[in-house]
Each structure stands twice: as C-alpha cells, then as structure tokens.
Symmetry: C2
Subunit: 120 residues, 2 copies
C-alpha cells in the first residue's frame, strides 16, 4: 500500500508547508484528538480548521473515524515517513557526492604529482 507517487509527495509537503497544519500534526503526534480539541489553540474559525483537516486528510497525513458526534483525527505516520524518505535519500546523495570528491582528490594527490588539480 501507499505507493510513493509524485502526487503524494506534492500533497504531503504542501500540507506541511502551513504552520497551522504543522501544529495540528504536532499535536496529533502525541495522540488522537477531536476537531474541537485541535481547534482550541488557534484564533481561527472552526470551518477554517475543518479545511486544514481536509487538506491533511487528502495528503494522507491524517485519517478520521467516526465516534458518535465526534470525528477523532489520527496521525498516519507512514505518510510522514514518505517525506522523510525523500529528504534522507537526497541528503545521502549529497553526502556521497562529497565522498566521491574526496576520493578523487586523494587519487590526484597521491597518484599524480600535483598537476594543477583544480576541481571546483
């Protein structure tokens, strides 16, 4: 499940780009919460929060179930992990680039006898 498409990443990163939504995710990381509980800290109308929750839900970052008149929200940590994976992957590519550069420099310095070794 949870195929890692571009659209999913688009939606997840876009969802995390809003401070209100990040705060909601932050709150949900400590446990499920109802809409009113999530709305409490904000000076924003309830429909405003409802919209943010819809964005989060469509991004896959949260899910909602029904419990009587409440709609408890639940953090879907797999979606968070997908963003994590993307960033760490490219972070690693970056680091490996330096490793290769170092190796190349070392080869130049030991093998050849300082032959104008401009790399940048």
């Amino acid at each position: 499940m949870s195929t890692l498409t571009e659209e999913r990443l688009d939606a997840a990163f876009a969802a995390l780009a809003d401070p209100t939504r990040r705060a909601i995710v932050s709150r949900l990381a400590t446990g499920d919460a109802t809409v009113n509980e999530l709305a409490a800290p904000f000076a924003m109308s309830l429909p405003g929060i409802s919209k943010h929750l819809k964005v989060l839900e469509r991004s896959g970052l949260i899910s909602r179930r029904r419990d009587a008149q409440f709609r408890p929200c639940h953090l879907e940590v797999e979606a968070l992990d997908q963003t994590l994976d993307w960033i760490t992957t490219h972070r690693r590519i970056w680091d490996e680039r330096f490793d290769k550069l170092d190796a190349r420099l070392r080869a130049v310095q030991s093998g050849r006898r300082h032959r104008k070794g401009v790399v940048g």
Copy 2:
C-alpha cells in the same frame, strides 16, 4: 546562523511541494548546475524555471553565485536538514507515545490480575 523559524519551514516545505522543484533539488544533490542545465529536462520556459529557482533560493534550499554569464546553483543542505529535523522530531514523539502506551499496558497486565484491561 539559519535560525529555525516557522517561516523558514513554511518556505522550505512549500518549495519541496512542487515536483519540478523537487527534481531540481534532486539534480543539485549530485552537484552544482547552471540554470540552462537545470532547465534542460523540463518542457517549460526558462522564465518558469527562473521562478522556481527564486522560490528555492528564498526558501534557503539553494544559493546562486556568479560565474561570468552563468549563475551556478548550489544545494544548501542545511535547509534540507531543518525539514528533516522537524519531521524526525515528530516521528519520534509519535513513537514515544507508543512506548508509553506499552509501558502502561505492561504495568496493568503484571500489576493487576487481568481486570478487563480495555485501553483503546
């Protein structure tokens, strides 16, 4: 440097929310590149790419220097790390929540003598 403000996270996550910009970051992770090099893979006008680069630059994810008529772009990996930190932090908070729940369950099971241990 690079104080971790909400605005910086807003900008970084928003920058990563676009597939073209992620592709650019992906490319830059392998090394610096000029605007034309970055634009090559895309069916998009150069000003379009230029706009994306400006978004990436303002988010702190890339920087640009001047080299004659070229403007080589450079990945600023610290900005990437800030997004990484935010996600991993909340990922950990999530995990710790389960640890605490487990501990509570274990306490209930060992301490009390199976007393209808409904937790969910």
